[in-house]
């Protein structure tokens, strides 16, 4: 059972990473804590719900195409939001960020409720991923394995973009010192918009990928944002590798915790979070600190 729980933990960790990566990416460059990240995730799930029956229903390709389009659609919405609202508050204090992004949370939640209603919806799983891989007496579910694989692809694509493309160089430069980047004649606005688009895409993608593995409803936003913040706090807000490590730690701790300390598995996660915060305040600066 230990191994199955470990695998369960890795799977959950990867989903958490996909959610948290966008949040941490946006913060790293723009210094905006996007409370609406969970709402973008939720939109990705609802878009996937709409798209899955339209594109080769039941097939693997159809599902991933639907998720990809959903992610892109959410990304477009993210760009609109960034250009209309966020762009005006980059210099403002934290409270203003909170007001603007929480306003988006409320608007999106009400919009989703008006369009899709308050009832939970179900996104069908692609047929080839319905079953389980049976090894001896142990069952390993196929769907989260596929999501894990998709997550690895995303991680690979991110690393490649960050280290081997011009966009990645600008991104790293922007994270280090955006004033310097602007001085070098690079359009800072464009970087921010692009980063927000990428973050929103990741949120939509995560929402779409996770949709068939649970219910889709208008309350997903808050459920998700809390886990994303826990991951970011453990990993260091703004630190992509930290987010990956944080996500895996949270996923695995929870899964193993359920086995050995069933009443304490959630406490364990917060305990880790507290320890990380204490350790960080005792001198070593986290990845997010400037």
């Amino acid at each position: 059972m230990f191994w199955i729980q470990l695998v369960n933990g890795l799977m959950e960790g990867m989903t958490l990473f996909l959610i948290a990566s966008g949040l941490t990416l946006i913060f790293g460059v723009t210094r905006i804590i996007n409370f609406a990240h969970g709402s973008l995730y939720m939109l990705g799930a609802f878009m996937t719900y709409e798209l899955v029956p339209l594109i080769a229903p039941g097939t693997l390709g159809g599902f991933f195409a639907a998720v990809l389009i959903a992610g892109l659609a959410v990304s477009v919405l993210g760009v609109v939001f960034e250009m209309l609202a966020l762009r005006r508050i980059y210099g403002a204090d934290g409270l203003m960020q909170l007001i603007v992004t929480v306003a988006l949370v409320l608007i999106l939640r009400d919009a989703v409720r008006m369009i899709w209603g308050p009832n939970s919806l179900s996104v069908p799983m692609p047929d080839p991923l319905m079953g389980a891989l049976q090894i001896g007496q142990s069952y390993f579910p196929l769907f989260p394995i596929a999501v894990f694989a998709a997550g690895l692809v995303v991680v690979g694509a991110m690393i490649w973009t960050i280290y081997f493309t011009r966009a990645g160089i600008l991104l790293r430069a922007g994270t280090d010192d955006r004033g310097m980047v602007a001085l070098c004649g690079v359009n800072e606005k464009l970087i921010f918009t692009a980063v927000f688009a990428a973050g929103a895409f990741l949120a939509g993608l995560a929402g779409g990928l996770a949709a068939p593995y649970g219910e889709v409803n208008h309350l997903l936003d808050t459920t998700v944002i809390v886990s994303a913040f826990i991951v970011c706090v453990i990993g260091g807000l703004g630190n992509l590798y930290g987010a990956l490590a944080g996500a895996l730690v949270v996923g695995i701790t929870k899964a193993i915790g359920v086995m050995y300390f069933p009443r304490l598995s959630m406490v364990l996660i917060f305990l880790i979070m507290a320890l990380v915060l204490i350790a960080r305040s005792m001198g070593r600066q986290g990845g997010s600190a400037r």
């Binding site: 369960n8 579910p141 929870k254 069933p262 959630m266």
Partner: protein, 411 residues
């Protein structure tokens, strides 16, 4: 804004229905005001909206038939946002500003207890038709309260009675939500099943945090206990997650799931419902009720009006308002004291069954509980329950001695 709009819609609907169906004229005394303080936004939103729809139809029908004691029924709808403090505030405002005659509409247990406290304090009758915590009947009982559906303990007892009839099930696990409802349900289920089937072995119960959607670790831990069946007081996203994530672990080949399965859950699962081994506890599944003209008439009217099948919540909210009307008729008044005396004496023939009564000691209605097997059948685009067994409410109700002792212990 939302409040006013809802209120206006409700009043308008009630009025148009009354005109269309009966064209009755009412006495000059003014309407009987039903304060509908419902969890219309937040975690309970979907259930509360169905409840409101059921109550709207009941109000329209009552008005078409001449109202309550010749006075029309008016629903005054308010949103509690599924928050106890907001629920108490809204209930208080309805009572003091709107001068309502009766309070209802609530879904969440916590909001229900908050509203019940206000009802007791201001001495205005309050009934619950969706929320079902037994604490409102026992420890926190107040004499202006009643509830018109089986409470959580009764549902757990019904599940135990059903499981007891499966001789091949010998090892039982429990996987519940980690809050009061999950824990009391598991305790009640275990207690009743132990007396019915001393041969059954019970594994250590497993609890998942409320609203948990990553259920894989819990599923794995439960399956490691090699149970023949799993009693699972879970709801909403957690239950949906078990149904979707379970097949990946061979859950529904390796064991059976006995859980809460109301019509809305059956609908939201749709095609994703596992083919076999899911057993559902339900309060008012429209397809399994005795198909009397009242039931078929209600289902048709509901579908025409709201373009969907009525859920359990809609049916018990409908029965709830009609029961109140029956009590008022018997009392000959809507005076709170007279109503409360009548509530304990009147017998009402509802959609769920004939002969529904409320026990005066704890305000609990002898409402039945249904348990059946989730199955896909022709004619519905969602799975329904088949092989449904109806458990009468009275034998599931905790004994009067038990209640008195529990109250004494709580003090």
């Amino acid at each position: 804004m939302l409040e006013t709009k809802l209120r206006r819609t409700a009043a308008l609907m009630t009025a148009t229905w009354a005109l269309a169906v009966g064209g009755q004229s009412f006495a000059q005394e003014g309407p009987v005001k039903v304060g509908f303080a419902a969890d219309l936004t937040g975690a309970c939103a979907a259930l509360a909206e169905d409840g409101l729809n059921g109550a709207k139809l009941a109000a329209a029908e009552i008005n078409a038939a001449g109202g309550i004691l010749g006075r029309p029924v008016e629903l005054i709808v308010r949103d509690t946002m599924t928050k106890p403090d907001e629920g108490a505030k809204v209930a208080r405002a309805l009572i003091t500003d709107e001068k309502i005659d009766v309070l209802t509409g609530v879904c969440s247990s916590a909001v229900m207890l908050a509203e019940s406290a206000v009802s007791g304090e201001l001495k205005v009758p309050f009934y619950a038709a969706i929320g079902s915590t037994q604490r409102a009947n026992i420890e926190l009982y107040q004499p202006y309260f009643w509830q018109v559906q089986a409470n959580a303990t009764m549902e757990a007892y019904a599940a135990a009675e059903y499981v007891a009839k499966k001789p091949e099930w010998k090892n039982i696990s429990a996987l519940g939500s980690d809050y009061e409802w999950g824990h009391t349900s598991v305790a009640a289920f275990t207690e009743r099943l132990k007396t019915l089937r001393p041969d059954i072995e019970f594994a250590e119960p497993i609890y998942a945090k409320v609203g948990e959607t990553a259920m894989a670790p819990y599923i794995t831990a439960t399956l490691a206990q090699s149970p023949d069946a799993v009693f699972a007081p879970l709801f909403g996203p957690s239950l949906g997650a078990v149904l979707k994530q379970g097949p990946g672990f061979g859950f529904f080949q390796r064991t059976n799931l006995v859980t809460l399965m109301t019509v809305d859950t059956l609908q939201s699962q749709g095609a994703a419902m596992p083919k076999d081994n899911v057993y559902g506890i339900s309060r008012a599944p429209f397809f399994a009720l005795e198909q009397t003209p009242a039931v078929t008439g209600f289902v048709d009217a509901y579908r025409t009006e709201f373009k969907e099948y009525p859920t359990d919540w809609a049916i018990s909210a409908y029965d709830g308002l009609k029961f109140y009307a029956a009590a008022a008729d018997k009392a000959g008044s809507v005076d709170p004291e007279a109503i409360m005396t009548a509530v304990g004496e009147v017998t009402y023939d509802g959609l769920r069954e004939a002969g529904l009564k409320v026990r005066a000691l704890d305000g609990q209605m002898n409402a039945p509980v249904y348990v059946g097997k989730a199955t896909k059948v022709e004619g519905y685009d969602f799975p329904i329950l088949t092989e449904v067994e109806k458990f009468e409410g009275a034998p599931l109700m905790p004994s009067e001695d038990f209640i008195l002792e529990a109250r004494k212990a709580a003090k």
